[in-house]
């Protein structure tokens, strides 16, 4: 999932300052899972901003609405019925959601309320960790399901570096050494021989070297 965190409230207040009628738009997918932009967080932010406006003596209207997915046009299309009521949309979607709404409604100013962070996993309640950089050439088979590009502090494809202590990274002793984990897992599956390969540097043209990426699946199209 895509993780995000709410921007500082002062930054949001500054961005919404020119507008009087605002739609706070949440997203019920990834950012709901990471407790940044779901229905609850959208209501909290809207409530906070309304209170801040009252303290400042400003007369503004902030309504809140949450769609299932801001990054899918079919889900944001119904906003067409209400969008004209607002001067601006304060989006609690990830960067993809914000841009999908902006493209769908070109006349409405879109304000991002979140900072999009990383592709990650919910490790525990209230704890999210980055575990994928979206390199476009997944090597998790080779590394036993643990991505050294993301989880090794030095991003080594040919590790370990030799600096770990007690299974922890020398860069940050709080972080498990990804290479220790890789070796443990590959040993468990009797597959350590995969590490006899010398892995070449990543071909980053698969990521952003050729500009924004897209995926086209004709079987999924209309």
């Amino acid at each position: 999932m895509i993780t995000a965190e709410q921007k500082p409230i002062d930054e949001i207040r500054e961005m919404i300052a020119p507008y009087k009628r605002i739609l706070a738009l949440g997203c019920g997918s990834c950012v709901a899972e990471c407790a940044a932009g779901g229905e609850k967080e959208t209501a909290m932010l809207a409530s906070t901003l309304r209170m801040a406006a009252k303290i400042d003596g400003r007369d503004i209207l902030i309504h809140e609405k949450t769609v299932d997915r801001q990054c899918v046009k079919d889900f944001i299309l119904p906003l067409d019925d209400i969008i004209d009521q607002y001067d601006a949309v304060l989006s609690l979607g990830c960067g993809a959601g914000v841009q999908a709404v902006a493209e769908m409604f070109p006349a409405a100013p879109i304000i991002p309320a979140l900072n999009t962070e990383f592709i990650g996993e919910t490790r525990d309640q209230g704890y999210w960790v980055e575990n994928c950089v979206g390199c476009g050439d997944c090597m998790l088979y080779d590394f036993g399901g643990i991505c050294p590009l993301t989880r090794c502090s030095k991003h080594l494809l040919n590790g370990p570096c030799g600096g770990s202590r007690d299974g922890k990274c020398e860069v940050d002793p709080e972080v498990p050494c990804a290479w220790q984990l890789i070796i443990e897992r590959l040993s468990k599956f009797n597959a350590l021989d995969r590490l006899e390969n010398i892995y070449q540097p990543k071909d980053w043209s698969m990521k952003q070297g050729l500009g924004p990426r897209n995926i086209i699946r004709e079987d999924q199209q209309r």
């Binding site: 002062d10 609850k40 209501a43 906070t48 209170m51 801040a52 009252k54 303290i55």
Partner: protein, 138 residues
Amino acid sequence: MNEKHKQKLALFYCERTPKSSEQDKQSLEQKYGKSIRLFPIPCGGRIEPLQILRALEEFADAAYIIACPKGKCRYFEGNLRAKKRVQRAQEIIKSIGLEGERLGIVMNEHAKSLARQAEEIMRSISHLCPSPVLSPHR
């Protein structure tokens, strides 16, 4: 501070708070009138920052939660969760310039009655100015 101002308190309380039956609730409401709004909840852990913020936004000068003492929650950690959520809500209101003490949680260590707790909380917030969030013409 305006001496005539009567604080309005939103009080959320765990239903296991001693002497918090419907009858006790009603007699408290009679005593304090519009100055108090009582919200029984099945466990302190049921409280969400949103409910606290909404109370402050819509009618309350202060919002407090009465939860069970440490180690005494029927659901093991509802009281601890409530504490964290109140802290979160406090951070939010402080970020917009409201005093953190408009929110609070009481871990009912000495098993005091709802009425006693309400009285103590009312006393502890009596020095607060009227909330700038609420219209002066309430």
